[in-house]
Symmetry: C2
Subunit: 873 residues, 2 copies
């Protein structure tokens, strides 16, 4: 028996979504439920996969099955392809497992040829309609299937209008349309070197191939990458008998939702057009009526439709989005699917469905995509205004939200402009820690370099500020305070608008609306919290970030990056003094100045977090990040610090590294300069002492970064613990503290069993782990990652979505070895991946205790963790 690749609608059901695609499976299910569905068949997703495996060919085996299904369908509907009396016409539509705009448009009226058009004329008693359909079919088929340019068809139409002195298509006579068909066919022949295919079977097979091809077009590839849809799924093709909504006043067509997709209100919502085909609704030439009107126009049909709609919603236990056509008073269901909805309505519908007893809480939380919550937490553009705007240039959607403001190119200018009351967008080649204040002041940030985990992206997400990063087409000219995109110049003070959720950049102002949390948000998130087993922590460096995160439901701080505290103006001087120190004594003197500041930082953080755990990471970045690099700046600093220029310059030069990512940083700094880690350990402990004296119960967690060898950890830990104990003694107090490590170097993951003997917790730093496991840096990968997507080597950005195969293998090995060596070890993830739903699912499966992400991703992570709990039951 050969494998089955083609299914009649009557042979499938909703459970066969993977094979039949969403549309095909639902058409089969509606058929099974006895609803009026124009019959047809589905060519399976497996046929698509085989098409590509066979070198973009449909095998004979599959062709045979298609022809057999066609014959069967012709029998069911009682029509025949190319028939002079009763021609069989079909639509051909793509239908993947997940809904996928970006793929092929629908082909309607397939089957029309010089003979069938006459049959259609007779059958509909409308010759003009038949020829209009025929010329439209030729246009559509030539464009979509045969990839002929649309332009020449438009030109032919325009020439004929001019000859006849008419303005609208509707003014063409039947004879005009016949002439147009001939002209179209002639053009087709001149271009393709052969006649327009008259054999409906050829039309059909070519269309099926076109659907398969469209699975691999650039739009579809981009959409898949953005939505985590694997290339390997393939698409199915649905071949379905045509019904006509344009056969007079008792015909019509429309779309409807069982609930309002914007608000979630439980009321049939939709629109329809009398005497029209689906195309007309989309074209927007005529204004459709609200569906309520149908009750007046055709009460019987309306009643039947509402009954079907209710049954479908109850059957699928979710809000349905349906397409239907009425042919001469008879209702046909063309499609049903779970309706897309806004985040606010998604939450309301989910809560309502639970209250109506239709769903359990577990099922309900799955009805909201975690990423959807973004729009509830960040400003968005006013949708109607957005529709009017053209995309100016596109970058990476680095931090969600919408922003509109005047362009400035330096952090200082941004801060000053905001003080003048302006709204600003900071535009930079890339940002650096010195830009923090400007980034904080700005509505949005645009950079021309850097990826999803670049400084700009990471900091912006932490702040909840909109950011479009790595926008390579933006050529920044700092000298003239402007930037160019191709030949368009944008100067300081000009308005631009950024959409950090899509990466789109617009010229001029697009109004934004503030985020608003829907009423059911708390209820819904409460369920998510009940269901999930993974804890959700946050990456926060400042009390403000921490406060945000707690409001969003963070249960602790998984990563506090102490170096982010070092860039403030009053501290950078002390840091630099420490860096240029020539002796341990000088260095200690400089560190003594930093101690009270760090202690203050941590104390504030602890007080915001209450008794929630706070994990503080010791100094991580290479020291050259803290010193200036141009001669001018070095001169200034030398003067300020009372040093010789040459001396300071030599120090700065000495800190330069070939590969800073692989340089003197992380715990390597603590190995060379134990006094730095000692100062930080002291600050962490003294802050806890102060809080605990006030009755708090802080258990500080000290995290040692970039460990690759257990002896490294052991060494640094030894004086961290010694310092901590000294602080407790000095204060005559005794409370717990923990020392753990990041697992972010492959060797740490490989030797995690040994490392766990010294570490009370592991925090997977998947940013660095990804860089080192793949061997490319996030800052440099931008130069080639696009080639990797285009050539399908990568389907998603490994810095945004954890690579579960390679990097994940290390995480899994380390988690297992760590738990074996120390069963009570606490395991978490604090890379940027910690806020990504698919990664969270992975973390759940690997058995981590928590994920830690930027504050604005906390709700997403809470929901994603709940999804993971349900999906992996």
């Amino acid at each position: 028996m050969s494998k089955k690749y083609v299914y009649l609608f009557s042979e499938g059901d909703a459970s066969m979504r993977n094979i039949l695609g969403g549309k095909g499976a639902n058409l089969a299910e509606m058929t099974r439920m006895g609803f009026p569905v124009p019959q047809g068949f589905t060519v399976s997703t497996e046929a698509c996969t085989k098409y590509y495996e066979d070198g973009q060919k449909i095998s004979d085996e599959i062709l045979e099955q298609i022809y057999a299904a066609l014959a069967e369908t012709e029998k069911i509907v009682g029509k025949k392809f190319g028939d002079l009396e009763n021609p069989f016409l079909v639509s051909v539509r793509s239908g993947a497992r997940a809904s996928m705009p970006g793929m092929m448009d629908t082909i309607l009226n397939l089957g029309l040829n010089d003979i069938a058009v006459q049959g259609l004329a007779k059958k509909t008693n409308n010759e003009r309609f038949a020829y209009d359909s025929y010329r439209r079919f030729i246009q559509m088929f030539s464009d979509v299937v045969m990839e002929l340019s649309k332009k020449r068809f438009e030109e032919i139409i325009d020439e004929m209008k001019e000859e006849r002195g008419i303005t609208f298509d509707t003014e063409f006579s039947t004879e005009d349309l016949k002439e147009m068909v001939e002209k179209f066919k002639a053009f087709y022949k001149s271009e393709k070197g052969e006649d327009f295919p008259q054999d409906p079977k050829v039309q059909m097979i070519e269309s099926i191939k076109a659907v398969f091809r469209s699975w691999d077009n650039p739009r579809a590839n981009v959409y898949r990458r953005m939505n985590d849809i694997p290339y390997s799924w393939g698409t199915a093709v649905n071949v379905q008998a045509m019904v006509f909504g344009n056969m007079g006043e008792t015909s019509g067509t429309g779309v409807a939702f069982t609930r309002n997709p914007s608000t979630g209100e439980k009321k049939l919502y939709g629109e329809y057009l009398i005497n029209a085909q689906g195309e007309d609704v989309v074209a927007g030439v005529r204004t459709p009526n609200p569906i309520a009107q149908l009750e007046n126009d055709m009460p019987e049909v309306y009643k039947e439709f509402t009954e079907i709609a209710t049954k479908l919603e109850n059957h699928y236990r979710d809000m349905q989005d349906m397409e239907y056509t009425i042919e001469e008073g008879k209702l046909y269901m063309l499609q049903t699917r779970n309706g897309k909805r806004t985040a606010a309505s998604a939450i309301k519908i989910a809560v309502d469905l639970v209250n109506e007893g239709m769903l359990t809480k577990e099922e309900a939380i799955l009805k909201v995509e975690p990423k959807q919550l973004d729009s509830l937490l960040h400003p968005t553009f006013v949708q109607d205004e957005l529709k009017k705007a053209d995309v100016f240039v596109k970058g990476l959607a680095a931090s969600p939200g919408a922003a509109c403001g005047k362009v400035y190119f330096t952090a200082e200018d941004c801060v000053e402009a905001v003080q003048r009351g302006e709204k600003v967008v900071l535009v930079r080649l890339e940002t650096s820690p010195e830009d923090i204040e400007g980034m904080d002041a700005a509505e949005g940030i645009l950079t021309s370099r850097g990826g999803m985990t670049s400084h700009a992206a990471v900091v912006a997400r932490g702040m909840g500020t909109c950011c479009v990063a790595g926008c390579g087409d933006v050529k920044v000219d700092y000298d003239n305070s402007c930037f160019y995109v191709n030949d368009t110049k944008v100067s300081e003070g000009d308005y631009i608008s950024l959409d950090g959720s899509t990466g789109n950049v617009y010229l001029g102002q697009i109004p934004t609306e503030e985020a608003k949390l829907a009423g059911d948000f708390e209820t819904f998130m409460g369920w998510a919290d009940e269901i999930r087993t993974l804890k959700v922590y946050t990456n926060a460096d400042t009390p403000r970030d921490a406060k945000h995160a707690v409001e969003f439901g963070a249960q602790g701080i998984g990563l506090c990056r102490t170096e982010h505290m070092f860039f403030a103006e009053d501290r950078i001087a002390a840091i630099r003094e420490m860096i240029v120190s020539k002796t341990v004594e000088q260095r200690k003197a400089a560190l003594d100045k930093l101690l009270p500041m760090q202690r203050g930082d941590f104390e504030e953080l602890y007080r915001v977090m209450g008794d929630r755990p706070v994990t503080v990471r010791l100094l991580d970045p290479p020291l050259h990040e803290f010193v200036p690099h141009t001669d001018e700046e070095i001169k200034d600093l030398a003067k300020e610090m009372g040093l010789e220029f040459a001396d300071l310059k030599a120090t700065v030069e000495g800190l330069k590294e070939f590969n800073p990512m692989l340089g003197h940083r992380g715990c390597r700094l603590a190995v060379t300069y134990p006094e730095i880690a000692e100062m930080q350990a002291r600050a962490i402990m003294e802050a806890a002492v102060a809080c605990n004296k006030d009755g708090l119960n802080v258990v500080p967690e000290i995290m040692i970064p970039l460990v690759g060898e257990v002896k490294e950890l052991k060494y640094v830990k030894s004086f961290v613990v010694e310092t901590a104990k000294k602080v407790l003694e000095e204060n005559n107090m005794d409370f717990d503290f923990e020392v753990g490590t990041m697992i972010e170097v492959p060797r740490a993951a490989l030797t995690a069993g040994e490392i766990a003997k010294e570490a009370e917790f592991f925090s997977f730093g998947t940013n660095d782990l990804t860089q080192m496991t793949f061997g490319f840096s996030r800052d440099d990968a931008g130069a080639f990652l696009n080639d990797y997507y285009e050539k399908k080597i990568f389907e998603s950005d490994p810095f945004a979505k954890l690579d579960q195969i390679g990097v994940g293998k290390l995480v899994r090995m380390a988690a297992e070895a760590g738990r074996e060596a120390r069963p009570e070890i606490k395991l978490g993830i604090c890379g940027e991946h910690g806020g990504d739903p698919s990664t969270i699912d992975f973390c759940h499966r690997v058995g981590l205790n928590y994920v830690s992400c930027s504050p604005f991703r906390v709700p997403i992570a809470r929901l994603a963790a709940a999804h993971a709990a349900v999906n992996n039951k």
Copy 2:
């Protein structure tokens, strides 16, 4: 029962080397064999380990065992510590498992105090001798054990000489020496605040502790790192009854070898002094006699000694290095051990021992350390001249050999000077590919930056040129054509001498001698080849390198780095033209120019290698390595290429990377620019076609570098294979070719099972794999690796000796997964580690098929592979 930490000589044997150390085990063995050994006991290496575990304390348990062993020994020798009549005196010596200079000096005459000195005087009937011994003991004990400065003791002696108007120590009278003892004791008390210890047990315990401490002194640590001796081994301490060679004309002391350690000649070789202690031999005040003289002086003793020597050599089945003392006509053996020897003599001895039937070939090859062969393959300094020279500055021993020449600072200057007939040493901050010709012309290379796998080191080893790298104390001043070490200036044209085997740099000229292969070399290496199972390939980029390697016994080329061919003057222009191309067509045009050059390179290589396999790696380095970086150079190049400066500058800027090691390189270049890989594949195949037409049987192996994901390999392989097949078709030929990959990215190792489905061979690129697994780059690690050695986090340079725990785990995983997926897969290593004996042992154990190393390391690798085969039987 408590653990045994202390062993009488009569309780041990040679097999207990790990516990007793080499010296202790051999003393026990000689005791067991009935040879005359002054008795004593050994405090075990385990006691040393426990000493450190207990926080540098000797536990009571061990103390008790020491005292018990002491009492037992006193009984055996019939003397007592501190006795007025017959005082027991001992020597205390360190003795680790491996011979370790750098540790504590010997303490002689321990046990002397104010009473015992009188006993000694009586016993020896020589009061002057007794007090001279006492004052020497005080000096030695104060210096070595109590760490008092030697200087004051010397001053006291000088002052006393001045007072007395004498010149030599020997002129002091007994009364002078008594006075000196008092002065020494007074100084001791003033410094230490307590009397010089009169209790011999205290002297002994303090000395034992000093030996334990010396295990951890900087010299010992450096020596261990250089010789791969683990810190965890610890040292034993030998306490042995003193015998006196200075008791008159029937006493004496000496050292001897059973064979000549320089030539290997089978003849007792050594020297002795009548009426002397070991000290005197070392001090060099008196010239010792050749051992043959002993036959005349004391024929009985000589006979006994030669018999013992022969028995020892037969027993240990190796050339012995012995120390002995004759006390009043009675011979005492103080030590025996396998003698150190030059490489040439090591080979001769090994071959002779086989011929004499004493050793099997397997045993014989173990008698030569692979690294020793270096000195047979490279020039060395004339040893007598070297002894006179002072080390000027020290760097990394990056490429072995000795060199002497005039200093020049640019490659061009070197080339010109050589053309004038000068011998030159190239001195650079670091070298880059543009320096190749200068490096080639130079006798030696000195760099101030970069580690063991820096460009300078790798290229120099490939060329067999002496190189000292990473010599941080050398401050190069290019502008003034000189360099400084502290305040010493060395100018262009000044002579320096480099020792690439030690990293030492000398001012001025030290004559060198050419390498010469000993007569038995071929025989010996032939045995190694018979025994080993690992194949030995070479890393060679030029026909010259390949020729060298074949002469040294390479069985193929494991790595040909095609980019090294690109830097020659006639090619760099075409490369640059390719890089600045804006379209695929331009790029192809530039590549077309390179094609014949590359084809020619490969053809030459194939012809040198005959039918031996040749693995060619596709272009690996980032493109910015091929373009100039200063504005001036860019201007020149722009002019040369007819480009706008701004345009070229923008291209160069665009190629810059934050972390070039983690950037756009390796197969990522081929993904972006398939045409480059196509050109190379074509060149590789066309060269093979030309050779195979001439009757050779070349099977080209095309290696795709830096793969991290199987789809990446699949993609690049697809057009490499397509191109190769096209070339075969065009030439109407059909022969095999293979496509494989480097495993050098951790993710490749983690997903090796998948990758093996597409790769016919794996070559482990352990340089990059080490960098990425540890997360530090070889160029930047220099800044902190010394701290890692000092703090005992690392014991060896992971770029020189493979980290078998972490990186090795990846290699092992990948080898296993690769073989599972493709049982016939060919596995090799081509990193710098491929020439390191301990790594080669690992490769053998993991079951690789070959190691590939630079040409001058091939003999070392052959021998190391044989060692691995024997040691892992």
